[in-house]
């Protein structure tokens, strides 16, 4: 072809010097940026594991609390904090998940494209931008100042609901959008009422995405510290009651011991608590990724 249209064969010239240099510089820049991003993660993980992993291998870490243990004493564990963290996250989940899923159903199945949906969507955007300290202050204002309850773990759970809700709602919403309309229409054509279509056809189809959102939301709220500081006091002993005014939690366990001198046994326990927390959070994130991998409904 080229022989017929041009007298000479096309000669491809390499880009001129400055252009090649710019191109190489850009490639180097993005490479360095990527390494710069991965380094902190590796560094944080290394610090936490190197300083704290030893205690995680002892059984007392998982079975005992810090009752009666001073920073100068060896021993004790994080059982009280793990129980507290899990309990508050679970109570939060019980409220946030139904509310988030129903909210997403409202946005997509009932009010799609309406002004009401836009208004709700806008408030969800606000909610997702609310700093955790503001959510905690709001619950403090509502429950403790106005209703007159004391500080309690359940108040923390309520504050965490505000933080988990947008994650659950947005991921559910995205998945519901991906459910093909033909499935809904097939169901309607069989005479199935809308609510049953949603519960038995739409939600099961979108289940994996919803589960991912819930797991990621859980991972987020478990690491939150600000609501714990404001709404509950840290307890060194084991407490299962969500209405008591003290409860242990991993973030507050870290916060309480952060100023300890490196030679004290308490210092290692702080890092072990950090290691436990990061372990739980990373496990949840990997679980979320596994759910995505095995889901049938994929984006794009």
């Amino acid at each position: 072809m080229s022989d017929a249209t041009t007298t000479q064969p096309l000669s491809f010239r390499r880009p001129s010097g400055p252009r090649t240099i710019k191109n190489t510089l850009a490639a180097v820049y993005v490479g360095v940026a990527t390494v710069l991003t991965i380094v902190p993660l590796a560094w944080v993980l290394y610090s936490v594991v190197a300083k704290g992993a030893r205690l995680l291998l002892t059984s007392s870490w998982w079975l005992q609390s810090q009752r009666g243990i001073t920073p100068r004493r060896e021993g004790g564990g994080a059982y009280h904090a793990i129980v507290g963290t899990l309990e508050m996250a679970l109570i939060c989940m019980l409220i946030a998940v139904p509310l988030g899923i129903l909210g997403a159903i409202f946005l997509i199945e009932y009010a799609r494209g309406t002004k009401v949906a836009r208004a709700v969507s806008f408030t969800v955007d606000i909610l997702s931008g609310i700093p955790s300290i503001v959510a905690a202050l709001f619950i403090y204002a509502l429950f403790i100042t106005i209703f007159g309850f004391g500080r309690s773990a359940i108040a923390v759970s309520f504050a965490l609901v505000l933080l988990m809700l947008p994650t659950v709602l947005r991921s559910t919403e995205e998945m519901l959008k991906l459910v093909p309309d033909s499935l809904r229409e097939a169901s309607y054509a069989l005479g199935v009422p809308k609510w049953k279509t949603i519960l038995r056809v739409v939600i099961p189809t979108a289940f994996s995405g919803i589960a991912t959102g819930v797991v990621l939301g859980l991972a987020r709220v478990m690491g939150e510290t600000a609501p714990l500081l404001i709404l509950v006091s840290y307890a060194v002993g084991i407490n299962f009651s969500p209405t008591a005014d003290t409860m242990g939690a991993l973030p507050t366990m870290i916060n309480n011991g952060r100023d300890q001198a490196p030679q004290l046994p308490g210092y290692e326990r702080v890092w072990a608590a950090a290691c436990t927390l990061i372990f739980i959070v990373m496990a949840l994130n990997l679980l979320a990724r596994a759910i995505v991998r095995f889901s049938k409904l994929k984006e794009k």
Binding site: E109, D125, L169
Partner: protein
Amino acid sequence: MTDTESNVGAAPVRTGEVPDGRSPSSDGYVHSPAEDPTMSPVTEETVHHPHTHTPVPVVTAHHLAPDITRTAAPSPGTPVGRGVKLAKISHTGDRVFRGLASSSGLIIVLLVGFVGIFLLALALPSLLADQDNFLTSRNWIVSGEQLRFGIAGLFWTTVLSSVLAMVMAVPVAVGVALCLTQYLHRRTSGPVSFVVDLLAAVPSIIFGLWGLIVLGPFLAPAAEWLADKLGWIPLFSRSVDPKGSVFVASVVLAIMILPIVTAISRDVFAQTPRDHIEAALALGATRWEVIRTAVLPHGRSGVISASMLGLGRALGETIAVMIILTQPAPGSPFTPSIFAGGETFASKIANNAQEFDTPSKTGAFIASGLVLFVVTFVVNAVARIIAERGQATS
């Protein structure tokens, strides 16, 4: 007869309405519960019960249509629609479910409204009793009879640390996003993206602990060097106590907002029209020129919006900043330097959380929380507006 058992709790049994002489296979349908979404949730475990080949007319009748009353038996071959009259579809379930969904939407709206209203209601008395100018004062005297407090100092530290974090994070995040979308092969960019996302999963308390104990001492020589070379600028002036500086807090904040900015920029860059990239390549552009002429212009609004969202996150970050920053002694003179300590809105509130004893004191802290709420709201709103404008024009 597992099948009849499986229908306990399903639609009311209407054995009398079963048409005569009609076997389940005559209409050509296979009535398996697995395909039948009308079954009640009670029968969850029997859904997968394989009974496709058990033709029991009584059972199939409710499987077929709990809401349809048959008025005449359609003889095989006639269209189903002629002999079947649809009647009395119950809307109760729909109404209840719709109500539930709508009220969830309403609850969410109310919740957000309440955040603003309650914070304002509790902050107002203290704001009115404030003897100082709330916006310009640097005092924070909230116990006792006379309230004298203002947010100028908090505002400065909050904005300074967050903006600094954004300035550090955005160029890196854009580089990573470009690397993920334009340089790396799909197979390698997936795991790298996942690692960047994991960075977002690290709880802020752990970043705080790490920043205080590991990163702070590591950055000390760099801070020293910067103060040496640029100390003549007030922003970089040497501080008396270099531990727990805004500088370290900003670096940690930058690391914390990196994944958010990266994720959004990555998504925007990935949506660059294929045509634009190919057109640039066809004109002989190098990879960098493709990025400059096609990818970056397409992603500009997305990157700006992502930076604003990152800024919003940095403004509200509590515990990492609280752990790292050294609280200045009360009454100490104002210093604009990034190598000094300070307090942000969030760290001030968190530091004093156990001292909310009188309403006026609590109100003062809630007032600063309200300012933080308003500031993050404005920043996030600007981010959304920029993102929507960008989508509309591209």
